[in-house]
């Protein structure tokens, strides 16, 4: 059990964060809170991916000067860069979604004067 936690603590941590975000999305009635939960959830997934990229004794995924012209670069020396790349995309997607969500939120507030889900439902009816 301890071994499980120690060898995979990052993955477990991501799950905890994911669930926190998920909880906020489902349970919270305030729409901004939902957006916050969404943000936390997406960040947790990014954490998961970044954890995939980890490598023992690996260094940053930027070539050292010593390796620039060598033909056989030891791949084990560097972190796996691919998840990082993917997560750049995910972050951008995150902020784009945030932008649209906020735009919708503001419009909704102008129209109905509240951001609480239950009140909103009442006013839409």
């Amino acid at each position: 059990m301890i071994d499980f936690i120690v060898t995979k603590y990052n993955y477990l941590f991501y799950i905890v964060l994911f669930l926190i975000g998920f909880y906020a999305i489902i349970v919270k009635k305030n729409l901004v809170k939902k957006v916050i939960g969404m943000n936390i959830m997406q960040t947790s997934i990014i954490l998961f991916y970044v954890s995939i990229g980890c490598k023992k004794d690996g260094t940053l995924p930027i070539l050292l000067d010593s390796d620039l012209h060598s033909h056989a670069i030891d791949a084990g020396k560097y972190l796996n860069p691919l998840p990082h790349v993917l997560m750049l995309t995910a972050i951008v997607v995150m902020v784009a979604t945030l932008g649209v969500a906020l735009a919708v939120l503001i419009l909704m507030y102008k129209q109905y004067g509240t951001l609480e889900e239950d009140e909103l439902l009442k006013r839409i009816k």
């Binding site: 906020a24 916050i36 906020l102």
Partner: protein, 81 residues
Amino acid sequence: MITPFNFIIMIFVLICAITAITVKDLLSAVVILGAYSFFMCLLWAEMGAVDVAFTEASVSSGIGTILMVVAIIKTTRRSKD
């Protein structure tokens, strides 16, 4: 191989996340979310994902927080939960 630094940041991240969804004042929640993002980006930087950390620092805890703050200023700070 839980490094202490890693662990400390994780605790901060966790605290920020929980606070951000429990605080009733939305402005505080959003600012705490910014802090959450920042700690998160520290964590990533510590894990070697500098590019991601950089992006997160600028995008999520920068622009994202600004946008949310503006949105909250434009709407309301109060929330029931």
